[in-house]
Symmetry: D2
Subunit: 350 residues, 4 copies
Amino acid sequence: MAAMMKALRKMQAARGLAMDSVPVPAIGARDVLVRVKMASICGTDLHIFGWDRWSQGRIKPPVTLGHEFCGAVERVGEEVLAVKPGDFVSAEMHVNCGHCHQCRMGEAHICQNLRIIGIDQDGAFAEFVKIPATNIWKLDPAIPQHYGAILDPLGNAVHTVLAGPIAGQTALVTGCGPIGLMSIAVAKACGSSTVFATETNENRRAMAKQMGADVALNPATEDVVKQILGETNGTGVDVLLEMSGNATAIQQGFKALRAGGRASLLGIPTENVPLDLVDDVIFKGATVQGIYGRRMYGTWVQMTALLKAGRVNLDPLFGEREPLEKFENAFAKLQSGLAGKILLYPDGLK
Amino acid sequence: MAAMMKALRKMQAARGLAMDSVPVPAIGARDVLVRVKMASICGTDLHIFGWDRWSQGRIKPPVTLGHEFCGAVERVGEEVLAVKPGDFVSAEMHVNCGHCHQCRMGEAHICQNLRIIGIDQDGAFAEFVKIPATNIWKLDPAIPQHYGAILDPLGNAVHTVLAGPIAGQTALVTGCGPIGLMSIAVAKACGSSTVFATETNENRRAMAKQMGADVALNPATEDVVKQILGETNGTGVDVLLEMSGNATAIQQGFKALRAGGRASLLGIPTENVPLDLVDDVIFKGATVQGIYGRRMYGTWVQMTALLKAGRVNLDPLFGEREPLEKFENAFAKLQSGLAGKILLYPDGLK
Amino acid sequence: MAAMMKALRKMQAARGLAMDSVPVPAIGARDVLVRVKMASICGTDLHIFGWDRWSQGRIKPPVTLGHEFCGAVERVGEEVLAVKPGDFVSAEMHVNCGHCHQCRMGEAHICQNLRIIGIDQDGAFAEFVKIPATNIWKLDPAIPQHYGAILDPLGNAVHTVLAGPIAGQTALVTGCGPIGLMSIAVAKACGSSTVFATETNENRRAMAKQMGADVALNPATEDVVKQILGETNGTGVDVLLEMSGNATAIQQGFKALRAGGRASLLGIPTENVPLDLVDDVIFKGATVQGIYGRRMYGTWVQMTALLKAGRVNLDPLFGEREPLEKFENAFAKLQSGLAGKILLYPDGLK
Amino acid sequence: MAAMMKALRKMQAARGLAMDSVPVPAIGARDVLVRVKMASICGTDLHIFGWDRWSQGRIKPPVTLGHEFCGAVERVGEEVLAVKPGDFVSAEMHVNCGHCHQCRMGEAHICQNLRIIGIDQDGAFAEFVKIPATNIWKLDPAIPQHYGAILDPLGNAVHTVLAGPIAGQTALVTGCGPIGLMSIAVAKACGSSTVFATETNENRRAMAKQMGADVALNPATEDVVKQILGETNGTGVDVLLEMSGNATAIQQGFKALRAGGRASLLGIPTENVPLDLVDDVIFKGATVQGIYGRRMYGTWVQMTALLKAGRVNLDPLFGEREPLEKFENAFAKLQSGLAGKILLYPDGLK
């Protein structure tokens, strides 16, 4: 095996990324080395590429990005029993400490000392990536391999949708980026009766319908709240799945939520959002949930079961593929609002 | 309107039923009179027909049977606002007292003073039936009318399936009578990844597959527990939906349940069932739920939402239809194990 | 029985209240007439007295105020079975419609058509008050009678505290008005390990300690967030019980809440509150609950059980008593920040 | 440090135990060596002493018993960060595999590959015991040290009581051995309104009252079901906490449970228990929970919080103390029904 490998890295505290040649990671007794087959670009990667304020505070260059991927196990540490070389895997890239209050409570996804592979340490935009054995997720052969590259965002969607009842419930998905789109498919697969989606981008609205949305609305031109109330007998939706991080969308979502409804918030607003707590939360008796990451590993179990059973069709999200070196193309397309995911191949397209 | 009507009644404390002519019910200020369009025969009706021990203790002849039905509102009491003449409706036939501990806790379905229309007072095997306004359920035009005649058992199925998580869960339905069959469809509609069904009757197994079961097993000839463990990686199913009331099926169901799983019991055993509480419940950390009736009216809301959205296809269950007078035919077919429901028409087939 | 009675009423759309003589209410078949023994003044009554913006939009004078009370049944309608003349009772003053989505779902406390006795129709600041039989709550003799006059706010406290786990949990009560003070006692009675309270009023902080608070902080002079984090090993509290409606207190409460914690909001802010949704809700994986009224009637059952068992000592809250005519005294004392409840006696002090 | 130590061991497949001298355990990189200060005898130890059928199938002699203990950390492996030498600790003695379905779901307490220290490998009836760092539980100085020796059974009690709502609920504890007695105290500390206890042993009934039971009944001489129904207005108790494993007690418990109630079963019956599933579970809409071990580590967090806050007084349970060598005395007293725990001191009484 070669000692060096290609990697797409943040080299310095400035806009941009660069291909580099770095040593193949050495692994410890409880680590797994994975040969990356495909990786996928997250919105977070776009922020780091652009070097926004959040990135400036969090990223310590040089570091290899990439936290959505799948590949084959290349090598395992001597204490690793869960997988063996050749197994096709993905991984949970949030690494928890195991001893803080939240870890002890079974809430490892909100560990006080969480580190993220591909953010806080070298990630999967490379030929190889090192993963702790606890975080490896072996993929069932019944699941299409390329789905394995987007389990991180799909896990966000599953976590959000299944954070409360969804069967026989009406739902509103605000924001149809990749996670919003996946949420639509997951909600329908899990028995949601009617899924409303809001999104200003026309391509994404079209894709929302493909993913199963019953109604796709454009908040730039339509009175979203009025329409949803109209279609729910004046009651509002049972569930708000907030995927946009947009203040207006959040406010509309709360107005469209029924009294007693659930608002599950995953999208990240860039500033404080003025909420009408009285009318939208308190008098409504609403439940608002902050959603972060994926439950470790309950969400992975649920997601795997749905995928293995063929209950969630993610194919509309795929299409664009690039070798890792052509990352500039991929980032540019996503920046311009492409409605789907782009797969990067460190070892070339096959 | 005529003063007298046809009704299918238990006339005396003995086997059998008879058509009779009785006065059209007079209604009070908060009652609704419904012209029955279709009614359906429940297993309980078979027990009453046969005059088994349970019937002997509960039924006080003469009484008109029938608690699964739909029809059009004929007349409403002066205080009734929820429906008006002409509305197409079904009804919850369990009438709760409103003031016992359970009613106060929001658990009206297990009211201490529950009375059942069609069991404890005159029911829907008649041209007209009187229903308290609280119990009337108006049907959305998007729902096929004949589905309205089987909402009582469908509600049992929805109540059972949704008594805990089902999305992304494996489930075992033991017993494929009508409610078992409906449970299969509901579980799949709500995201169950794999549904196993067990049933000795070959026609019912075939129908289980039609309703969406992934695997239909014959416990008379197959080692059900071994097969299910084999197909679940030795873990067992997440959810047991017990619909048979059969002691062996219950015991098999518990053996096939995973540690930490949920067993929801709706089927009614005719005698004490010896349970291996230690291995099947305690060491397993299992949750066992007794399920009775339908949540009033949460189950009705869920069921309506699923039906209105077209998420549950019940068509395979229908086929046989008879005018009410030909009830003997219908009861005979059901007694011989017909795998589906029979609709009775008090006003003749249309 | 006299035909006329004394009542404390809002007579016109302006500041103030006045004693009036009005007919004793006539009751219908399902109503109960109660002879009011004691009534208590709610913060809402102060708002209506002062004729603030909310009052101007909601209150239609003339109307008798008063929605916290207890008394003896004087007379019952012919269909009333739950109580009989002489029974000592209080009542849920929120009257639900029974047929909206929320009522059907068992969430009557957030009924879409809720009416409040003492706000939307004549209330309990009078010699007699008319209550629907469904809303009457018979009081166990083991419960001190004067507690019966404050079950409405105590129910708010119980509803809030028991809206999630509390046993073995640390809690922060922000705002020590009467409901905040009651929440402290309820939380401790239900196993909260440590209760922090914040309040600027010194008397109320002292009373917070009397009610069982382990730590009472003054947010005007102390760094509340830092102190709470310090005393919780940097983790924060498990539960926030927000009782102040004060924007700063709400923000502090969220900062002091642990990741994965529960924020139950009962206090009513007078304007939009800018929330740091990202850090305080989303990344924290927090659950935020709007709390309104009392669960009908689950909260009443819980509250009664706690009181009957002597688990909650409310005595520190009582002290001041006035005949109804002396209402000006009582309102003035409360306006000036009295830390407790004042009982009004329509029939004179006894 | 000495190379050899004293240990109380099962030496062969037969009745009895013996003191032995064995090497002090060698520890791995992620292990902790604890110097045992006090250990406590579990009912399971009595079974192993007596060499009953269960023991014969499970225990592989020679093995050191003991799974209830506390002591000071003597030495830690090089990767251990959670504790350091001198820390006073107890431990969860159930060691989970980390990769089975249940471990992945956050249900490590029902791990498919669970091993128990003191049962399946050498335990704490010795001068030293080796514990994996994940399982060590550091004790807060506010908690009395001797309580540290019984956290295993106290955890059973906390797990059982808090497996569902308890605040404002009536509870029945069937069986007042140590865990039953602890359950009484925990239930009261967490807001149970009335705790009924049943127990044939008079000393234990007396201790039940000391621990906080409101009513202690003798099922050998009293009609337990009738009395409990009488004291609950005919409704029955909200919660059954089954601690006896006795078939009659289990059946009585179910009869005394209200419709919609929760039955949490911890006691281990020695044979199949015939349950009236229809009347006691199904028609009742009851929830039955099998309880095993302690949630890892949610139960430990809850238990620690309750103890640290002084909410649970366990002092009545203590009294008898013996040096480890005098184990025969201790086992004999427990066998004869002593109502409490006996502490064993490997290093002599201090």
